[in-house]
Every structure is written in C-alpha cells, then in structure tokens.
Symmetry: C2
Subunit: 665 residues, 2 copies
C-alpha cells in the first residue's frame, strides 16, 4: 500500500495515498505548485551547485576532499527523490518519472561495490568512511535514501533505486549491526529510514538495526562537542528522557523512529516515553505556530518556557519532523491531540515556508521580525537561515526538499480508518475512496473553503449495506462547532464527532467550525510574550505586518486593546490598537519614555529610575476615559502569508495596553 508510514499495528490506519486526492483549495493549490515548480527548482539548484555532480565525480574517480556542498548534501538529492516518487505515484507525471530515473542512474554509479554510498567520505583523498560519526552525516544521508526508496517501492515497485537502497541498508547492518561497530550517527534519521524500509520490505533485520541504533543512543556513544551531547540526544536514552532537547530536527527524527520501534516491538514503555516527551515539549517548548526550536546557536529547543518570538528558530524542517512524530503517535494511539498539532503545524509552519510560486522558502520561522528583510536575490544562495525574506536556496538547504516531500504526500495525512469507519482530521477539498473491513466502501467527497470558511461538507459517494462510522475531528480551539446531518444540527465539542449509519450516496454531513477571530493568551511562564496576546482564526495564527500600518515604523510601539474583541474581515481580522508615542531618552538606561500619545494611557509607570517605589499600572493618565482618541483598527493577516508582499516587519504576539487604573492602585 502506498503511504509514507505503515505501521504493522496501531489504533488507526493511514489511508493509501491512492485512496485520497486533494481537489483544490488551500492545500490542493500548494500541492500543485510543489509539483509544477518546486521539484524542478530543487533539482536545478542541486545541479547548479554541483551536489548532483558529486555522485558523478565519485563514479568517475575525480572527487576529492574539496567537493562542493556540506557533508549532508547527498540527503537533499534523496529527499527530492522521495518527493518525486510520491509525485510520480500521485499523478503519473512523466517528468517526475524521468527525473527519478535520471537521478537514480547518477546515484547508482556512485555506489561502492560493498553497498557504501556517500560522496563526502571514503573516496579520492576524502576522510575515511565513518571517521566522523558526530558530524559526518553518513548514516543520516543513508536514512533519507531509504525513505526515498520507501516512496519508490510503495508508489511504483522495486526498481534500481530500491535495489541500491537495499544494498546501502545491508552495508549499514553489516557495519553497525550486532558484532559490528557500536556507533550511531550524530544526526538521527537512519533509524526512521531503516524502520520504514524494513516495514516496506518485510525485512526484520532493518527494524532490528533501527532498534539497535536507538538503544545505543543516550549513553555518551558519541564524542562530546562544545554544544554538549544533548545537541544530538546522546545525553539520555530516549526511553528515559522527559522532554525534547538539543537540535530540534535531530530530536524529532529520533522520536519518530522511537515510535516506529515501539509499535513494531510492542514496547509500550517506549511509546509512553515518547508520548510524555511530546506532552511536555508541546506544552513548554513549542510555539503557538507549532514551531519548535527556540535557539539559533544550536538550532535547538531551549529550556521550558524559553520561547522568544523574535529569535524563534522554528526551522521549517522541525515542522516537518514534528508532523512525522505526531502522525506516528496518532496512528499508534488514535489520540486527536496529535492531529490537532499537525493542523497547527501545517498551517503555520509548513504553509509559511514556501513562496506562492514555490521557488523560495523560509528556513527559520520567527514570530516577530523587528526589521524588514532585504529582498532576496532569486539567483543567489542565501548564506543565512534568518532573513525576513524567503530565499531561493540556502547554503544549508534542508528545508526546500523537506517541504517538497511533505506536500507531495500531503493527501496521506488527511484521514485515517479503523475497523469501524473513517476519521477525517484535516479539512481540505478532497475525494476519499477507502474500503473498510467487510468490503464496506467509505467513499466521501469533501468540499470546503477552509480555512477561509469554516463549513466542511462531507458528501457520501457510495451506498453502504452495513453501517460504518464517519468521524470528523473538531479542533481543540473550535468551541461552538456544530454538526448537521439529516436536517438536524447539534453542537459538537473538541475531539471526534461521530456519525454512524449505513450511509447512502448523496448523504451530506456538514461540520461548521467557528471562524471568528479569537484572542489567545500565552502561558504566564512564557517570559518573552508576557503582557501580549495573539489572535487566531480557525487554524491560522494571525500577525500584524508593518506594511498594513499607515506608519510602518509604528509596529514597534503598537499596543492593542484587549477589551475589544477582534473582528473578522475577509482574509484576516481587525484589532483595536494604537501606537504609543515614545520619545527617545538615551540615558539613563533603562529609559522610561514619556508617553505622549493622544490618549495618555498608563504606559508610563511611576517609580522609574528616579527611585521612589510607587504603584505601576494605572499610575498615570486618565485611561480609556479619553475616548477613542488614537485607537484605530489594525489589520491582521495569516502568519503564513507574511512577507509575501515584500519585506516587512511583523509580529504575532501583540502587546496589550495596560488596563485603566483601578480605585485601589
């Protein structure tokens, strides 16, 4: 069956990719752009930079220690191959098919007779194989090769790519298997690749090798590095860890593999450990966007509650990896909190990265941009992950191909099934033709303008003789949702809203999700956004952009009125806000500027540098009493669309104006 993840057991099952197709809308159009623009874009950049020719040079014996690209550039080729394989299976696009054959042929020539395949080590004066497990990324590259082979095997069947991947996997097992070298890779990925390739081939050895890598980790197996062993999760065994830490993509790829191994081995202790890590990490180390990774220095998680919006790293790849973990946990447990997070991550990380034309990408996804980026040159490689503008390609260019492979298989993440019926988790116009045990057809067509509109129409497409259950996920944020069937409307709360019947073709079930914009308040322990509020609308996090303000510079001193609900407007929302008029006093630090705005609200605390301790909020000014002077409607737009109209400053969390003074103060 064609699907990126096919566990042998679990509470629910993925649908085959062939059973679902996107028919337009928010995600359908993105999948199309990915197919028609991004895939070729990625290949052409890798050709231009010599990352493809690296394979040729190994084959021709002309490579050396100075080959272009980072040690992990091979993996970009494999991620592109994975994306192409899903795409070819989805549409039968001959160009995708041709690209797969073209790339496979070049890769195959570079494989050593014993199965080893890497363009950065072991040839022509390069460092010896596996001489730098901490930083060399050899096994990481192989893991992505195996994921590409899974896509090819499931979408097409055995071919040269699958065979060479098998040789590479066998080489890994020989080298690092029982009795071999007890090493692991500095960047987890081989584990998840081996596990799925093992499942796809029914090859128990690969699963066992994944387990072995997993169990070796966390015991100081790798050499220490300045960033510390937590950077690559070699500090604590995965089953003992309480929270994700270190490099976010590494942590999440590892967690995904841990779920695979736990499920296949019936290791409930390990599964429970990952569930608890998810729970704590999502509560304390995850942004409102679903983004993960608070630090630039190590592209890593920070401490609990360390969630700066401005220096948020939130690497696009970490969003992809987070979905990998949540999807596996959902398949194992059926818990919709995981598909809730997938929705959040899809709309606010994955959708944020690519430009509308699919030829530029965000690498980091900060929640606050103080200074507009500079327009990116579409012909230049961006040396920096942080830019404020989407870039065509990066020096470290992991994100474009990660977005590509995710979008190419996205229809596989919309719904699941179990013995009793179909569960729809992500709302998009689509066609689902699944089959339940007993030959019951679970065939539906979904029509929706989501997330612009909140109405989701599910039309049954085939008669059923036996009853089955259609379950629709009601997101945790969707208070006030209703379900209409057979002319009856009822309220439905967060979780799965179920309808069980012997459905007839033409039956319609309508889910109405409340799409009024809403304030979302951060946990008081998130120091970096204290005194701020975010606005969300449906699954979309909204943001304010400087270019929507009459004075773009005013974004830096914007405050919003939390007593006035955000109002819906097409494409976003309006909040009541105003810019504080702040003067600059350079000294003494910290300058407490006088607030000279039209309605002098109490933003000037008393007891300032002059030393006397006095009441703070409400100490000065006459509050909202001044009427609406200075207040104006501030437009908010979906975060994923920020900087699409050119460079802009931006913020998601908006400072609230202090409340009016109280009697007691």
């Amino acid at each position: 069956m064609t699907s990126p993840v096919l566990p042998s057991r679990g509470r629910v099952r993925p649908l085959a990719l062939a059973q679902v197709s996107l028919t337009g809308g928010f995600w359908g159009s993105r999948q199309t752009v990915n197919a028609t623009a991004t895939l070729a874009h990625c290949e052409s950049w890798m050709e231009r930079l010599g990352w493809l020719a690296n394979f040729d040079r190994v084959a021709d014996g002309t490579t050396g220690p100075d080959r272009p690209g980072w040690p992990f550039s091979d993996s970009e080729v494999y991620k592109l191959l994975e994306a192409l394989s899903w795409e070819s299976a989805r549409t039968g696009d001959p160009e995708a098919e041709a690209a797969i054959k073209r790339l496979t042929a070049r890769i195959a020539r570079a494989q050593d007779p014993d199965g080893y395949l890497n363009t950065c080590f072991g040839h022509g004066g390069q460092r010896p194989r596996y001489s730098d497990l901490e930083g060399g990324h050899e096994l990481y590259n192989t893991g992505h090769l195996l994921q590409a082979a899974v896509a090819r095997l499931r979408g097409h069947g055995e071919d040269e790519l699958v065979r060479l991947a098998r040789r590479a996997a066998d080489h890994v097992c020989r080298t690092f298997g029982p009795g071999g070298r007890a090493g692991i890779c500095g960047h987890p990925e081989i584990e998840v690749g081996l596990a799925e390739f093992g499942r796809a081939l029914g090859e128990e050895r690969y699963l066992e090798q994944a387990r072995l890598f997993l169990d070796r980790r966390g015991h100081g197996t790798l050499r220490d590095i300045p960033l510390g062993r937590a950077y690559f999760q070699d500090d604590v065994p995965v089953r003992e860890a309480r929270v994700w830490r270190g490099h976010a993509v590494r942590a999440l790829y590892l967690a995904a593999a841990a779920v695979d191994v736990a499920v296949e081995r019936g290791d409930d202790e390990l599964l429970g450990a990952v569930e608890r890590q998810w729970e704590r990490s999502v509560a304390r180390r995850t942004y409102i966007t679903g983004g993960m990774g608070s630090r630039h220095q190590d592209e890593g998680f920070g401490e609990d509650w360390e969630l700066p919006p401005d220096r948020a790293y939130c690497e696009t790849c970490a969003g992809v990896a987070s979905i990998m973990v949540s999807w596996r946990l959902h398949l194992a447990t059926g818990d919709v909190r995981y598909t809730d997070l997938i929705e959040r991550t899809l709309y606010n990380v994955i959708a944020t990265s690519p430009s509308a034309d699919g030829r530029a990408f965000f690498y980091a996804n900060p929640l606050h941009q103080r200074v507009p980026g500079r327009p990116a040159d579409p012909a230049e490689v961006s040396p920096r992950a942080e830019a404020g503008e989407r870039a065509a390609w990066f020096d470290v260019s992991c994100c474009p191909t990660n977005v590509a492979r995710t979008l190419a298989a996205l229809h596989g993440y919309l719904a699941t099934s179990d013995d009793d019926g179909l569960q729809i988790h992500q709302y998009a116009s689509c066609r689902i033709r699944a089959e339940l045990p007993g030959g019951r057809a679970a065939a539906v067509d979904v029509e929706t303008a989501y997330p612009e509109g909140g109405t989701v129409r599910v039309r049954i497409a085939a008669d059923a003789d036996e009853p089955w259950t259609l379950a629709l996920r009601v997101p945790a944020w969707a208070a006030g949702a209703t379900l209409t069937e057979g002319g009856r409307t009822r309220p439905v709360g967060p979780g799965l809203a179920r309808v069980r019947r012997a459905f007839r073709a033409g039956d319609e079930i309508v889910l109405d999700l409340p799409m009024e914009p809403r304030f979302t308040w951060p946990d008081p322990r998130i120091d970096a956004v204290r005194g701020c509020v975010a606005v969300e609308r449906g699954p979309e996090v909204l943001c304010a952009e400087s270019r929507d303000l009459p004075d773009p510079g005013a974004l830096g001193s914007l405050v919003v009125d939390p007593r006035s609900a955000p109002r819906a407007v097409p494409g976003g929302a309006l909040v009541r806000g105003r810019a504080l008029a702040l003067d600059d006093r350079p000294w003494p630090y910290p300058a407490v500027p006088a607030v000279a705005g039209p309605a002098a609200e109490p933003t000037e605390p008393a007891g300032t540098v002059a030393g006397a301790a006095e009441p703070v909020a409400g100490a000065a000014g006459a509050a909202g009493a001044a009427g609406d002077g200075g207040w104006t409607d501030v437009p908010l737009r979906p975060y994923h669309a920020w900087a699409r109209r050119g460079p802009s400053s931006m913020r998601i969390f908006l400072p609230i104006a202090p409340p009016p003074p109280s009697e007691g103060a």
Copy 2:
C-alpha cells in the same frame, strides 16, 4: 605618565596610576584577589594547555599546524602580560616582575627576524602569514601585544617587551601601511593597540596606521562570511554607522580606536559619530547591567530593543570593551553619562565575572537563568560560554585575562582632572595625590562603604594656596543626593557636584547618595521584559535567586507586587511577591493555566483558547482584596554575587502581578 589611556588632548585628563591607590573596600579587595590569585591562575592554565609552549615551539622549529589553542591564544598571554605590567607598576611585586621577564623571554624567542610574531601562522607547515585575515586574528594578537607593551613602557620603561612590540608594530606598518596590502583584521584590536603605543612612544606612524586600518573598514574589505560582514563591522564605515552591531567585542574595540584616532586627528566628525553610536546603542541595545551582546550565535548585538534576559550573552569582555569606549569618550568630552555607564558596567558585569577567590569566571552574563548550572570542575576547561556557574578556564578563554588587566589598572579609572580641579567618578576607598597646573596639590583621601553604604567622605589631604574645584559625580539614578561641606548640606542633582575653594588639609566634603532600593521599569519597547520590573540599589542591579526561596522551583512562577516598594535589608532588598500556582495543561497550546494560588489574582485572562474575546486583565478573581494571603517577602541580592553560593536559578526582571480589576474592564 602611567595610565592605560593618555590622549594628547581632551576635556579632562586621566590621573596617573601612581597618583591613585585603592585602600580597600569593594574594589580594593577585588584588585587584591586579582593580584594574588588571578594572575598566577591565568599563567598556570596557559602553561598547562600549551599556549605558552606555542612560543617555545616556534623558536625551536617544532611547531606545526596542529598547535594547541585557538588562533587567538597568543593574545591571552599578552593580556596577562598587560595585567602583570600594571600590577608590577602598582605594587612593585617581585613575582609579577619575574613573571613579566619569564614570559617576555619566551615570547621574544618566537619573534621572526623581520618582526612578525605569531604562533599559529607562518611556521612549520602552518598556513602562511596573513592568509586568513577574516578569522586568523594575527593583527588582533599584535594589538594586544602593543597594549601590553604600553603598560610596560608606562609602568616600567623600555625593556625587551617594548622593543619586541616595536618590531612587531613596525612589521605591521611595513606590511599594511601606505603602499602595502590594503587589509584589515577580522577582529579589531590592532587599531587601539597601535594608537596607544604610538601615543606612548610619540610615534606618529603607529597612529597613522591605526587611522588607515580604521578608514579601510566598512567597505567590504574582508570576505563575506555566513554571519555577514556586520559581524566584524566591515559593512559600514565607522564614521557612517549609526549604531553598534555584529560581534560586540569587535564593535567596541573598534569604537575605542575610533575615539583615539578622532582625538589625535582633531576629527570631530568621527568623534561625534561614535558619540551618537554610543547614545543609540546604550539606549536600545544595552542591558540594565551595562552588558552588551544579545545573541549567542554571533556573540553580538541584536536589533534595537532585542534584549532577552535569558539568552543575554553580555560577554564579560564586552563589558571590558564598553568601559574602554566610555572612558575614552569621557576623556574627550567630560560628559558624565560615560562614567555613569562605566559604574553600571563595573558593578554588574566586571564584578559579576570572577568568583570570590579569583579563580573562576563567568564568560556570558545572562540576566535570567531558568535552570541552575552544574557545579564546575575547577580542573576542567569549560567548552561552553553559557554555564550558570563560573568556570576555571574556557576553551575560548578571553574573559579571565581581560578581567585581570582591567582590575590591575582599575584605580586609573576612578578620577580625572582638568586645569581647574579634580573630578571623582567612581566611589571607592582610595587615596588620590594629584597635582594641578600651577603646582596646586589636589590630594584627597576617600572613605566609603560604597556600594553597601551611600556615604562618601572626601578628606582634603593638603593645603592649597589657590582655590581649585573638587567635583563629585552624582549618578543619574541618585535622586535626592546631598552634599555636605563646612557643616552645610545641600541637595545635588545628577551630574557633577562642585566645590571650589582654597582647600585646607582636613577639610571634609561628604556626598550622601540615596541607597534605598528602587524599582526600575524597562522601556516598553523591550519586548522580552514587558510586564516586569527590576530592582536596583545604588549602582547594583539586584536579582532573585532560587536558593533564597522556600521552594526553589517557585522562581519560575514568581510575581511581585509593584504597589509595594522594595525595602532595604543588609546586603540587598525585599520585595513583596508570591508564586503563582500554575497547573500544567499540556494541550492545547498555549496552555492558559488556572491560577489556584491562595489569593486568586487575575492572572488567568478570560477569552483564552476557547475563542471568545473578553476583557483580559481583571477578568477573574478578587484582586488584592484577598488580603496578604500568599504574599511574602522575597529577598533580592546583588546580581554580581549570584551563583556564589552554588548553582541557582536567577532572574533580574521580575514579573509584576496584574493590577486589580477596574470598574470599566
């Protein structure tokens, strides 16, 4: 004359080091610990790690590309030599003198016949001289050598160290002078070294070379790097820059040199540029501690208002460099805002770094530590700048020797003179024996318990036939200060409080500075500390440490009552605070926890994830109405003393409890 900085002109003049001596107290004891412990500590570590032997190996022809230490390790030896030279001049300590001779002899042997002196380049298979100006630090090292030679020349007179430094400077001038290679060093420092060495020797060529390096910078002279040219200030010419940016130490060493060149060349445009950069950077890119550098990734300044307390880098060396800049600006202009900042930086960065025994140091000086550090092993090199604990030595160990050279010459930064009198800027028990033009003695003894106490007694130590002016700096924070002389007390405002008289020995002038702890409110544009307040006492920033709380974990949910003034207690202050009882809801993010503390104050905003927009502050609970239930006295201590009693979590900026609800809300 012996002084670290001796401009040929300026509004005020430094005193000679020989004219001032610390006689105990806060800084006197630190200078003593530096002399008796830190200097030997630094030498022994550099011996142990082979950084000293690097010189021997060059001399013996046994060095190679694999020499131990970073390319800038030579500079640590030179910074230690500078510290030893000031120390030897201060006390005549034979051990310091012996160490100088010992180190100089080893260094001298490594100098090439043409004057080039570096242990990392140009010998025995190492990369060629000046083949990596961006990262090689060759000229940087030489700059520190010249600063050491300045200390030796002024404190002792010409000797081998001075002569070899002269040969090195000549080599730099030949290589990079007019007609030579138009290069600059990736790390500014040669400029400030050349400028002062030129002043010390009256060697105009060196000043001119400093000017040349300065003028070459900012034109893309260096190759671009992934962090961008702003990292090493090669993005914008120094006279055109509006603000400090990039690597903080680099930016500040460069600014110091720019002041030197501006003063010596009468270049008021350049001086004005640095003054404006100082003004903007101090207002917008400087922490309340005086610390500079908001980012770990590049050890650099962030954007305006980007001042996260938790990930504050605030490298100790940047504190040293900030003092270098402010001191030069003060000498040029006489403006006390510069000595105000020096005070802030001395008490809250420089005093924070070393342990009480002078054998361990903070490298980074964050304002918020969420998780206590692990006890540092005094026998191990810390690979990390961030630790939460002072470390004996670092992989990159620039800070210990920078603290050492600053403390060894600290008495040079206490006071200045002009034609009319003496200005005292930093209050410490000390003895000053200056001479004013016309042979007037400006001799005073200062006695104070500052900063524990706010009384500063200045006793005149010599009769004067002619009147002169004693000026005492009243810090900007010191509202309510008074000056008492001749039995009369008068209020004095921030700035210089002056007394002009034909003083008689025994006359006493007493400055009383208000030492009540005070709230300090951050600028509303500093997003990272919105809704928080800091407490300062005199020049000291205070902090809360977990080990002072009955439940150390409560620091993470501590709020303080801004309506209740902080109260002084010996060694610190008390604020009224309480820990919020927050429960953990892992999902949906962002969890808005119920507040279940004894007095349910409105920390639970309504209108949460459920979507309905409702008033925020004051929405729930009965406010302070619940009496003092839950409120308690939270002890605050000087930030510079944090983690001295062992690992601890800590924060300077304290969240304030929301005010009680108002009628209107």
